[in-house]
């Protein structure tokens, strides 16, 4: 579980620290936020393997937050934590695509075991499903064929262009940091790659310029963000 990154959002400031520490003790990396807004901002800036959301929180409740999260990444697993045990709430949570549901008081070990089970299942699903076709705005990109179809025109991409666009698609609506992009394309993050990266991003942007439904933003000092409008 060493590489797993979990986003825990719970407004119980002190008690949730205990949950965080327990999961960390079991080998997970945990980012803890205490309200839905801060949690959602954090989610947009990072990659998480799983989210654990309290249901009743100020500003944004857990259900609304789950909808926002799923609108960005429909595959990320979600576990709801709740003080309610109402059947209707459980149904609502599961309808929203929650992978599991724990009623407080819950056992820390049970939470950890459920996380493990869900992630094992997700990994098994990933193994059988290799995504090589991405929808980018109104365009379609096939990473296996290295083909980008923009408004019925097919563009053949080079290996590096294809790797870059794949990464942008995987981080769709999120920040693709320069380091991750360089590592993913060239296997290292040497500074001299920075200029090349800018050039390739410009090329991809040019390929997609006819598509009004997609935009690649430059985030100064951070990286890039592919926006699907």
């Amino acid at each position: 579980m060493d590489d797993l990154h979990i986003l825990l959002i719970d407004d119980e400031v002190q008690y949730s620290e205990l949950t965080k520490e327990y999961l960390e003790m079991r080998g997970c990396k945990v980012t803890l936020k205490h309200d839905g807004l801060a949690g959602f901002e954090t989610f947009k800036q990072n990659q998480f393997d799983l989210c654990v959301l309290d249901v009743k929180m100020p500003k944004i409740d857990g259900f609304t937050l789950a909808e926002e999260i799923k609108s960005i990444d429909e595959c990320v697993p979600i576990i709801f934590l709740t003080g309610q045990s109402l059947k209707e709430d459980k149904i609502k949570g599961l309808t929203l695509g929650a992978d599991d549901y724990l009623t407080k008081p819950f056992s820390m070990e049970e939470l950890y075991l459920r996380i493990r089970v869900i992630l094992k299942r997700v990994k098994a699903q990933e193994k059988t499903k290799i995504v090589n076709e991405f929808k980018v705005g109104s365009s379609v990109f096939n990473s296996e064929l290295r083909e980008l179809s923009v408004l019925n025109k097919t563009i053949k991409l080079t290996s590096i262009e294809s790797k870059l666009l794949t990464l942008l698609c995987q981080y769709q609506n999120k920040v693709l940091t320069r380091d991750i992009a360089m590592l993913g394309i060239w296997g290292d993050e040497e500074h001299f790659r920075g200029y090349s990266l800018n050039v390739y991003v410009s090329k991809i942007r040019k390929f997609l310029k006819e598509d009004p439904m997609v935009e690649i933003l430059n985030l100064h000092g951070e990286g890039y963000k592919l926006i699907n409008k």
Partner: protein, 106 residues
């Protein structure tokens, strides 16, 4: 308080149990005292959240009577049924004060 129940939830980790109880000792009294001002200011959402938070803590500690009392307060607030709240909070505050003074004497 049913610390055996809490210990089971914490996978037998005594340190976590102690920390949980310490957090409860430090914050619960203030949270209980905050209910009445929230009622007076008619801050319904905050009052519901405060009662909800207390309910969770009481459940962890096996304090079922208190958990039921704050659950009723929370439900009344959520249902817009405000007229008994003043009395309900008074009774709960009084019961809790007695418990707290016995459990955590100065």
């Amino acid at each position: 308080m049913d610390l055996l129940f809490l210990k089971n939830l914490m996978n037998g980790d005594e340190l976590l149990v102690d920390r949980f109880v310490e957090i409860f000792r430090k914050q619960s009294r203030g949270q209980v005292a905050a209910l009445k001002p929230l009622l007076i200011r008619q801050q319904w959402e905050e009052l519901s959240n405060a009662a909800h938070s207390l309910k969770t803590q009481f459940n962890y500690l096996g304090l079922e009577t208190f958990a039921t009392q704050v659950k009723n307060i929370e439900e009344n607030v959520d249902n817009g049924d405000y007229h008994n709240l003043d009395k309900m909070i008074d009774i709960f505050e009084d019961d809790f004060r007695k418990f707290y003074d016995t459990e955590f004497p100065c």
